[in-house]
């Protein structure tokens, strides 16, 4: 009798415990708190040692600099003497600094490359999603510029965009167009950088779209076909909604990456381009901070940049959560 009365609780408890561990984080928290008993002491010990490096790294190289930024942005600081508190001076300077606004504008304008790249890569992915010879080779070729170093690619394109002997103008010449001197003319420097960015980023987004297309369940498409939906409607109402998470991811990472564009500008137009036409915000921060030693001012701008990126990302997540499409 006594054996029978003690065994049921243990048999009940075990599966419950296993279920809790395999479950999501939410049930886990509900059913079991992190153990503080003697049994889990070695686990806590080793666990803390294992997670210590990245946590320490975060504290030293992310949190501490961020906190210091929040202070230094309000100081007058040249890097040689210690920062002197200056209130909102840096932010006032920024508001009245035409180069700040110009570089911010340049950065935003060059993001036109994101939708262009997405449209082309979606078309490419749809094309690559067919069964045909050479698919693997195409994937490699389209992604090749993406793995190449920005420095080498920028050097290549600086030469390719040369007004007199560059590849781009040679090709335009073949169809009878007299190409501009891309990196020297104010109205052409941004399109030139956008062209290069699209070329470099195409492979990455194509790969992601291709993976998403391949994960669209065949039975959904077949069901739509049986319901009489044509190719366009199948794409519009079945495939496209299932691609939206990838589009979202690409837009978010594209904007975050685009806001940090630096190497291309620094190499291809070392002085910020014709009439400051290609200087991006990170380039301007770099120039003010490391060339002009206006560290307080540069920190203030970098803080604004960080806040803008955060804000734009947050807005995108908010909008995405409102019209997200889920398939059970």
């Amino acid at each position: 009798m006594s054996a029978a009365s003690t065994s049921p609780p243990t048999t009940v408890e075990r599966p419950a415990n296993v279920g809790a561990r395999a479950g999501t984080g939410a049930d886990r928290r509900a059913t079991r708190r992190p153990g503080r008993g003697r049994l889990t002491r070695p686990e806590r010990f080793w666990g803390r040692i294992f997670i210590a490096p990245p946590v320490l790294g975060f504290a030293l190289f992310a949190l501490a600099p961020l906190l210091f930024s929040c202070y230094a942005a309000f100081t007058n600081w040249n890097g040689l003497s210690s920062p002197v508190f200056a209130g909102l001076t840096n932010f006032r300077t920024m508001a009245a600094d035409p180069q700040f606004w110009q570089s911010l504008w340049n950065t935003v304008v060059m993001m036109i490359g994101i939708p262009i790249g997405l449209a082309i890569s979606l078309a490419l992915a749809i094309a690559l999603n067919r069964r045909m010879p050479g698919r693997a080779a195409f994937r490699v070729i389209y992604y090749l510029p993406g793995v190449s170093s920005v420095a080498a690619i920028s050097i290549l394109w600086q030469w390719a965009l040369n007004g007199d002997f560059g590849l781009v103008n040679e090709l335009l010449g073949m169809v009878g167009i007299d190409g501009p001197n891309w990196l020297v003319e104010k109205q052409w420097v941004k399109p030139a950088l956008i062209l290069m960015g699209v070329w470099k980023g195409l492979g990455f987004s194509t790969l992601l779209y291709l993976a998403a297309l391949q994960s669209v369940p065949r039975n959904l498409l077949e069901a739509a076909m049986l319901d009489g939906a044509g190719a366009w409607r199948r794409f519009r109402h079945v495939t496209a909604p299932m691609l939206s998470p990838v589009t979202f991811f690409l837009v978010v990472t594209g904007i975050i990456g685009g806001a940090q564009m630096f190497a291309e500008v620094n190499i291809m137009t070392p002085t910020g381009g014709p009439e400051f036409g290609s200087a991006t915000i990170v380039w301007y921060i770099w120039q003010q901070g490391f060339q002009n030693l206006q560290l307080g001012y540069a920190t203030a701008m970098s803080l604004v940049l960080g806040a803008l990126i955060f804000l734009v990302t947050a807005i995108q997540f908010y909008l995405n959560s409102r019209n997200v499409f889920t398939v059970e």
Binding site: V18, R130, M132, R139
Partner: protein, 307 residues
């Protein structure tokens, strides 16, 4: 924000990725065209591939020209004579070898040590009971979201105050603490490994370092490989970090060396030399990419399904 959506779905994602690995293999039916439309699409894709490759081919072509040939009209696609000596001149024209060595030192140290610390952390974050670990993990993810330019000035001053500017240390040391991105991906991967496996090892008397080396590490090896390759390419190609910290030529990484080539020799219009140096800078990463292209492309696809 990304975490809350990504974390609970971890087991689903790995199951969704498995068929991808199968799909990566070429099926027999892929070798044949199914319809005339496919032939048209194939031709369009070929033209696209041609456009993508053209600048790189042109770079190679320029690197084999003589200085006068560069300005020949109409341009020569296959330079005659091919000036292979450009690839000998580059080694004398700048500290290219030093740059390769410096880039190798940075990437190899960071990745070897950083991968070990990242793996241990990913294991602890996914499988070990530690008070407050979820909050710490969220903090790490928050750290990923802060863009580097927003932190570069204070970080620079931090390293400057301990005299590390103009050495390779600011590029190496932060990486030794592990890569939060890698921790994130490996943790996701480990979420699909059953806990019972680790519990069985605990019951058998294994301690946690042993469990890690004998059980966890073999399981996540493919995921580690993919992350290591991506991280290598990121470190090797980095430009903003080196340009901030490194002044003297003897510490310049390869990317800075070729950028300086560009600045110096463009004045003399020695484009063949610049292109040859840039190609040398591209080769290591392109070689890694071509050798591991399947793994890289699959882990890129994996990144997308995480979204």
């Amino acid at each position: 924000m990304a975490t809350t959506s990504a974390v609970p779905t971890a087991p689903l994602q790995t199951s969704g990725v498995a068929p991808d690995a199968v799909r990566g293999r070429r099926k027999r039916s892929d070798r044949r065209f199914q319809s005339p439309a496919d032939v048209v699409v194939f031709i369009v894709l070929c033209l696209g591939a041609f456009t993508m490759l053209l600048p790189l081919v042109w770079m190679l072509s320029t690197s084999l020209k003589t200085q006068e040939n560069v300005f020949a009209l109409p341009p020569q696609w296959i330079p005659r004579p091919a000036e292979w000596s450009n690839y000998l001149r580059i080694w004398e024209a700048g500290p290219l070898l030093r740059g390769i060595a410096n880039s190798a030192i940075v990437s190899l140290t960071v990745i070897t040590v950083g991968t070990v610390t990242s793996c241990f952390a990913a294991y602890a974050f996914s499988k070990m009971r530690i008070p407050g670990k979820n909050a710490l993990f969220l903090a790490l993810l928050g750290g990923i979201m802060i863009p580097f330019p927003a932190l570069m000035i204070p970080t620079f001053m931090l390293f400057s105050s301990i005299g590390w500017v103009d050495t390779l240390l600011p590029l190496i040391v932060p990486g030794l603490f592990g890569n939060p991105m890698m921790v994130f991906f490996l943790r996701q991967y480990l979420m699909s490994v059953p806990d019972s496996l680790i519990e069985a090892a605990v019951i058998d008397g294994a301690n946690h370092p042993q469990i890690f080396w004998r059980i966890v590490l073999p399981l996540i090896r493919p995921a580690i490989a993919a992350q290591v390759i991506l991280w290598f390419m990121g470190t090797w190609n980095d430009y903003l970090g080196p340009i901030i910290y490194l002044n003297s030529e003897n510490v310049h990484t390869l990317q800075l060396v070729i950028a300086n080539f560009n600045a110096t020799y463009a004045v003399e219009t020695d484009y063949p030399l610049i292109m040859a140096a840039s190609i040398v800078a591209l080769i290591p990463v392109l070689a890694v990419f071509l050798v591991f292209q399947r793994q890289i492309i699959e882990s890129i696809a994996l990144t997308g399904t995480k979204a």
